[in-house]
């Protein structure tokens, strides 16, 4: 069974690769390369896969899930400039693809029990989102 919890955070970023010139970054990322940054209301949907516990009837304690999302994602990223304040985005470009993968890396170690992390969906806007998942051993 899959369960999904949603959390929102607001953050700013600049999409520009240090390996490219200003013109090349402009051509690749468009307005997202504007040097002083811009922001989004990001929405994150985290999906866990597991069987309901026979006693509690729950796949995972939703209150604990809320706390994990707050600690690993919303706490460090909400109202932050990702490039300057949230590693590794001082070194890698904070595209939606890279942020989704980083959120997976932060969350995955928290779900080593019966419920496993199944998918991370990150909305940059209502019209642009990325799904990220890895095979979990």
């Amino acid at each position: 069974m899959l369960i999904t919890r949603r959390v929102e955070f607001s953050a700013s970023h600049v999409c520009a690769s240090p390996g490219l010139s200003e013109e090349e970054n402009r051509a690749l990322y468009g307005a997202a390369a504007n040097p002083h940054g811009h922001g989004h209301n990001y929405a994150l949907e985290v999906t866990l896969n597991g069987d309901p516990d026979p006693v509690t009837g729950m796949v995972f304690d939703l209150r604990e899930l809320k706390e994990i999302l707050q600690r690993e994602v919303a706490g460090p990223m909400d109202h932050r400039f990702l490039n300057r304040e949230v590693p590794p985005f001082d070194r890698i470009v904070p595209t939606t693809e890279n942020i989704a993968a980083e959120i997976w890396r932060r969350l995955q170690p928290n779900f080593r029990g019966k419920a496993r992390l199944s998918n991370v969906r990150l909305y940059e806007t209502e019209d642009l989102f990325v799904d990220y998942s890895e095979a979990v051993p």
């Binding site: 999409c15 690769s17 390996g19 490219l20 690749l28 468009g30 890698i92 470009v93 904070p94 595209t95 939606t96 693809e97 890279n98 989704a100 993968a101 209502e126 019209d127 642009l128 989102f129 990325v130 799904d131 990220y132 998942s133 890895e134």
Partner: protein
Amino acid sequence: MTRLTRGYQFCAAHRLHTPALSAEKNRELYGKCNNPWGHGHNYRVEISVTGAVGPDSGQLVSVNALDKLVQRAVLCDFDHSDLNRDIAAFGSGMVPTSENVAVEIWRRLAEAWPADFPELAGVRLGETKRNIFELTNEEQ
């Protein structure tokens, strides 16, 4: 696995009617969607791609390039059109149900898809917020 989805909108008219059936049978099958002068929807279409994220760009695909492709291959023709009359695929007996509209969108995208783009993974068409039709690359 990284999958990126981008949403678009187009507004179009259609009428559901198949020449293979009588007027009564059409009415029975399609209900008010068979009304003779047609009707319209604000369609929402979501295009998904999968593949590898570029190590330097951090991107699966240039969203700007994807927007231009979808605009050219689909939205230019579909937006503010009468699907039955203005889109050739629906002029020859293929009924513009959202199932068929999704298939036609897939066909057009596949035809225009650049060789250096990641894989087209899904087309999800919402006729209204309640009626949603989805095609995946496993079916294509």
